[in-house]
């Protein structure tokens, strides 16, 4: 009885603390939405009001039309797919190689994968930019594909863990039947790591969607992405930053991430907890 009462007390206490944090974490988001519905002069009018006098839905129209939002949205999507597909496949392949074909040098290569975590992004991207602009290979989306090939170390690790949990007998019986290595991989192994693919996909999407440096260096405005437009925000003719419209733009910009996250979060969290962390 004593223990039960104490557990209930502890749960109540933790619930209250977490609820306070959740409210605090919501405040910046509320501020974002509320600001996106204000008039620009309301933002500077004192005494400050929390809510707009009358919500200005027009801001959402302007956020879309002032910068040709649709075009950059499509650009972002194209680059995300160009990056995510090779990133998932390359990481999955590498994870498979590390889990199933352990040869003497595997460990050294695995350390190499982990060591790439220590390389600051700019140390590779800035020289790449200089090389590329020198050979005239600029404004090419193909770069995102190559970027994808270099994989995501954490995801390679994750896939290795996932593949390690699959019994060897699965492949052996297929090999007896005369299946080649790619057949074995795509028919048997790949379908068994769907959770890993979802986690990898979310990561790849998030990275490419928020990447700032690559598009700002390598792409012209014509091929530029939403991340760049959001970083630049919106300004009027007199170079005043239009915060309200900027916030509306951010709402659009984050919606796909919100959607994907909430649609897949159960499997995402489960995948992270199950695969990646027990090693």
């Amino acid at each position: 009885m004593n223990i039960e009462a104490r557990n209930r007390l502890s749960a109540t206490f933790r619930f209250i603390v977490l609820a306070i944090f959740v409210v605090a974490f919501f405040l910046p988001l509320v501020s974002m939405v509320v600001t996106s519905l204000k008039r620009m002069d309301e933002l500077y009018h004192l005494p400050a009001k929390v809510f707009p006098e009358k919500p200005v839905w027009e801001n959402y129209v302007l956020a879309w039309t002032l910068v040709n939002f649709g075009k950059y949205l499509v650009n972002s999507l194209i680059l995300t797919i160009l990056y995510a597909v090779p990133a998932i496949m390359s990481s999955c392949f590498a994870g498979y190689a590390f889990s199933r074909f352990q040869v003497r040098e595997s460990r050294a290569f695995f350390l190499l994968v982990l060591s790439t975590l220590m390389i600051p992004v700019m140390v590779t991207i800035m020289p790449l930019y200089m090389v590329m602009s020198r050979v005239g290979f600029v404004n090419q989306r193909g770069l995102w594909f190559i970027w994808g090939l270099s994989g995501i170390p954490f995801i390679i690790f994750l896939f290795r863990q996932f593949f390690s949990t699959i019994p060897n007998s699965f492949e052996e019986s297929a090999r007896m039947d005369g299946a080649g290595r790619f057949q074995i991989f795509f028919r048997i192994m790949f379908p068994l790591v769907q959770t890993g693919v979802i986690v990898a996909g979310i990561f790849a999407f998030q990275w490419s969607w928020s990447e700032f440096l690559m598009p700002v260096l390598f792409l012209s405005d014509e091929k530029s992405t939403l991340a760049i437009k959001i970083a630049m925000s919106y300004a009027d003719q007199k170079e005043n930053v239009l915060y309200n419209i900027g916030m509306a733009g951010i709402v659009y910009y984050t919606l796909p991430l919100v959607f994907i996250f909430f649609a897949l979060q159960k499997r995402f969290v489960a995948g992270l907890l199950a695969g990646g962390l027990k090693g």
């Binding site: 600051p120 140390v123 020289p127 200089m130 090939l149 970083a231 992270l272 907890l273």
Partner: protein, 315 residues
Amino acid sequence: MAAITRLGASPLERHKRVSFYIFLAPWLLGFLLLQVVPIAWGFVISLTNRSAFPVEIKFVGLKNYITLFKDTEVLSSYWVSFVYTVANTLIGVVTGFIFALLLDRELPGRGFFRTILYFPYMIPLVAVGWIFRIFLERDTGFLNILLVRLGLLSTGVPWMQQSPMGSILLLSFWQAGWSMIIFLGALSTVPRELYEVATIDGAGYGRRMRHIMLPLISPFIFFQLVMSFIYAMQAFIQPYIMNPRVIRGNWVMLNPPPNDIFFVMSRAYYIISGQHKFAYGMAMLWVLFAFVLVLTILFVKFGGFWVYTEADEKR
């Protein structure tokens, strides 16, 4: 291929090795093209006088590096980045750990809390920067309105101007969800029976935590500290968007932030793409690279003495 056949003793071993390289090939290709080649090229550039202007390119040896160590502004950037990194790492790890502790046991609405606390981590930094720029605004920012209404402040505080570093660190707190997930995973690996046995033996919460939980999850804490250090040293866009000076027009990257939040990466970007001093900027990045590398290796080698491993047990 010759090396492969030579080393492969048995046919099975050879088949294994061929498969290994086939499946590793895409990663190897990306690694060579996007990391090895540019890194080496960047180092070569740092030894020259290359800039965006077509001057005669000369090999200048370590001159850029020597200039760099005399450049007080650049040196201050390393210091600022380092201070930010330490603070960011502590905030992230401690907050994430507390959240994980609160969420580890049964609780109504556990999934909801976990989702909401993780969520800010999903929002891209370029957006987060603007969201907080408005949130922290002196007169009309939500935070000030709230604190004034609650009677905690008499007038609004210009947070970004008064404490630019603190404002940027607030993002570390808001985006601690990643640490939380790592620690939740870590806590789920601790066998419940150990707690129960300890409770029966009369150990209170504090002792259970110190003698059971902390040792068992110490490898995760260690991992998280290392990763957080590496990432935070690369912070780049935050000082531009959360620049305490007034931002005009719509290209935030044009206005350099003040020195007390001008991180290494932010300054390197400014030197390379704003001032077109390619070689000097590369030297700066290489020093950062070396710094991160050396510190990480030292940390992994000597910083892990408190990390519990199975090997200790066997000894």
